[in-house]
Subunit: 458 residues, 2 copies
């Protein structure tokens, strides 16, 4: 019997993040100031982020060192395990070899602490005492709360009100770590008050919560803002996942044919995929050509149905314009349980790779993804987060293709988090109460027609 888990010794944990900017054949289009339509500079971002993170956002070196105090925290749960899914393979009857990289071992239960910890540390180093952020279901908010506790930072989280009311457990986790959590829209900001004046019972949205968090950071000298996905430096912080997986697959004597991750803002996908893509780019066709598959929800399909265009990152239009696959910043996806994938846009770097033909994208419906998650749980024991179910579904589709074709390919998937705080969704799935709501085609067309007009560069 081959081993099940591949555990890296702490001494082999990567010491540097991998920056894919160094290996891209074409640089991605720059973010633009929405007023001037000129590229955004460090000064534009200074009110929100410490300089070290702004430098990482525009860095082009291939490797950036992970500070030792950050690595010290990572050792609480990293290197995370790579597991050969023997039992899932058997359940599927596939000749494929399936491996999952399991990020649910982190204290907050997902990959998000991989960036929350360095973001908190760089802020603390810059003398910042307070960080604001937004959160939907709470994966990101609880990760930043954890990181804040470690470095003595006050964390204020604006949580979308409907989640704040409906999911008290994630909030309790944030509070246990010592963070303060406000339902958004709140009376604490101008943007919140403006919304509440119109509708005192407004359920909130991620766009509004971003506006509130950004407003607080922009108007307080001792306070910065943190984002859990989308930005270049956030994606780079996640590359420790793929770098570890590469070493662990070496231990297993295997090399992936297909790498699968789920995509919302793009950070966990980038984390598993970028190191493999970079290896191929540097190999210039001499290394094994792998398929890199992004899996997104059919109800919010930015990569498969969105337009590649400049757009705002938030509904309130406070952010720079970035070129990305977008459903339009006014698009409201229907409700579904993978809250971490409910975003109208896609990370500019992931979008750029899609545009260059370096990655594939596919979309699945919620019920199909939960069916995959339940199959995985019964075979491997771990109940995946609803977001991670998309990657599981993608991997199962590849494994069944291998079965049909009689091919023993190696499939690597990123199991980005556990579903311990999402059991209501599993309960509803089991009871047949989950609905695969489709987005409104008319609304999508409307949102896309409202994309800002940005002239092509000369």
């Amino acid at each position: 019997m081959a081993a099940t888990k591949y555990l890296l010794d702490e001494s082999r944990m990567p010491t540097h993040w991998y920056n894919i900017m160094a290996d891209l054949p074409v640089p991605p289009p720059p973010p633009l100031h929405p007023g001037t339509l000129q590229p955004v500079g460090p000064d534009d971002l200074a009110p929100l982020f410490p300089m070290a993170l702004i430098a990482q956002e525009v860095a082009t070196e291939r490797e950036i060192e992970i500070p030792e105090p950050v690595r010290e925290v990572f050792r609480l749960w990293r290197p995370s395990p790579l597991v050969r899914a023997h039992r899932l393979e058997k359940a599927l009857g596939t000749p494929a070899r399936i491996y999952y990289k399991y990020e649910g071992v982190s204290p907050a239960g997902s990959h998000k602490p991989n960036t929350a910890v360095p973001q908190a540390w760089y802020n603390a180093q810059a003398g910042i005492r307070k960080i604001t952020t937004e959160t939907g279901a709470g994966q990101w908010g609880s990760s930043l709360a954890f990181a804040g506790a470690l470095f003595g930072l006050e964390i204020t989280v604006f949580q979308v009100r409907i989640s704040y009311d409906q999911k008290p457990y994630r909030r309790a986790l944030m509070e246990t770590y010592g963070a303060t959590c406000h339902p958004s829209p709140s009376n604490l900001t101008n943007s919140g008050r403006a919304i509440l004046a119109k509708d005192p019972n407004h359920p909130g949205s991620l766009g509004i919560a971003i506006s509130e968090a950004v407003e607080v950071a922009a108007t307080h000298d001792d306070t910065k803002y943190a984002l859990g996905s989308v930005l270049n430096h956030v994606l780079m912080h996640q590359t420790i996942i793929g770098q570890e997986a590469m070493l662990q697959l070496e231990m297993a004597g295997d090399d992936p044919d297909v790498v699968v991750g789920c995509t919302g803002g793009g950070s966990n996908f980038a984390g598993i995929a970028f190191p493999f893509i970079g290896q191929q780019l540097r190999g210039k066709g001499k290394t094994k050509q792998r398929r890199i598959v992004a899996v997104e929800p059919a109800a919010c399909p930015s990569l498969t149905r969105g337009t590649y265009a400049y757009d705002f990152g938030d509904t309130a239009h406070l952010t720079p314009l970035t070129k990305m696959h977008t459903l339009g910043s006014t698009f409201t996806p229907p409700g579904f349980h993978a809250g971490g994938l409910r975003y109208h846009g896609m990370a500019p770097l992931v979008s750029h790779l899609k545009q260059l033909g370096l990655i594939e994208a596919t979309a699945y419906h919620q019920n199909d993804c939960f069916a995959a998650g339940v199959l995985f749980a019964r075979a491997e024991g771990i109940v995946p987060a609803p977001e991670a179910n998309h990657a599981v579904k993608g991997a199962i589709v590849e494994a069944l293709r291998c079965k049909e074709q009689g091919r023993s390919e190696v499939i690597l998937l990123n199991l980005c988090g556990h579903g311990h705080f999402d059991m209501t969704a599993y309960s509803n799935y089991a009871a047949g109460k989950l609905v695969d709501q489709a987005y409104d085609e008319g609304e999508l067309a409307m949102a896309l027609s409202g994309l800002p007009s940005v002239p092509e560069p000369a």
Copy 2:
């Protein structure tokens, strides 16, 4: 900086359970048939358990092999990590070195799968198709549900009705693994119907749920019953915890002065402690003498306030009589959040060791334990289960004693599970709403006065 985690290679995972019966200076008093007051024989237990487990219950060999198919499942999460709690030490300012063995990495989030998996496997080997059990909050029920999914067994869980209604997430976990969960009392058994006839809104109790599960197993040939603690074979299955910890502490170059675990039925405590106690017993004073500390809730203090006497294991008096520290089988502890420690008795083997002076016991109040848990979460990231908070509290008390005495002792604690499904309790604690209910002294006296009369052996 010393390493944080000590990970054993899978190849070093223990291949045998450790049976403390082989090393005891005096054998424990035998369980008795309540009618004849004669020692219970294998035939008495045959309707409820497969013969392999009955044999383990009375075995006296020092080592019993863990079947390979069970070890194969264990490799999904075992060996579990041993972690040096550097950050907790720093937060306490103690010269003590604190290590925690973390069992929350199992799929069900606690140590319970260590016995659920072998119990399910031995039943499957004996041709059993169905297992019944009871559960309170659901740690044990979800672990057996997970194990049942792996070996194709139908698992039926009778869950105390008030928990069934109040804690839907653990139930959703059981159902995701494919188990059937009934609120108890139910209309499915005579014992359940009798209770409901008197009170259709009865909130249920562990005693009633045991009666229902035992009744179903005793009246169906293809169905057996499984228990998650208390019995000798269950405690033995947990010794893999302490055996691994021993190897991991060797890697760290340390040897514990104090071993701390929480006690309800006694299984996780036995798991961490028995291998160390056995080593001392075999060393006959020539090995390091360690203190072994059991920590129990002040509201249900069987080891510190109970009587060492023969008593029933359940309130309905269906079980054999076992000699143990008991608060009386009719004693109802006040409500508190560490549901896994809310049991009137203590495992006979743990009680026997207490009687022999080989272990110490201490009791703490709920709010003190939650304060310890929050401190731990902010330092180490992991939010412990309310049960595990008792072990954390016990370890912190020892670490602060070391600080006062200027001693750099080595403290090992068993962090038996995470609190992801217990965040309501943390929420209430943060809001100052947790009450340290004391048990009723009059009720305790009454329960103890009702202990069955068993003549001392000649």
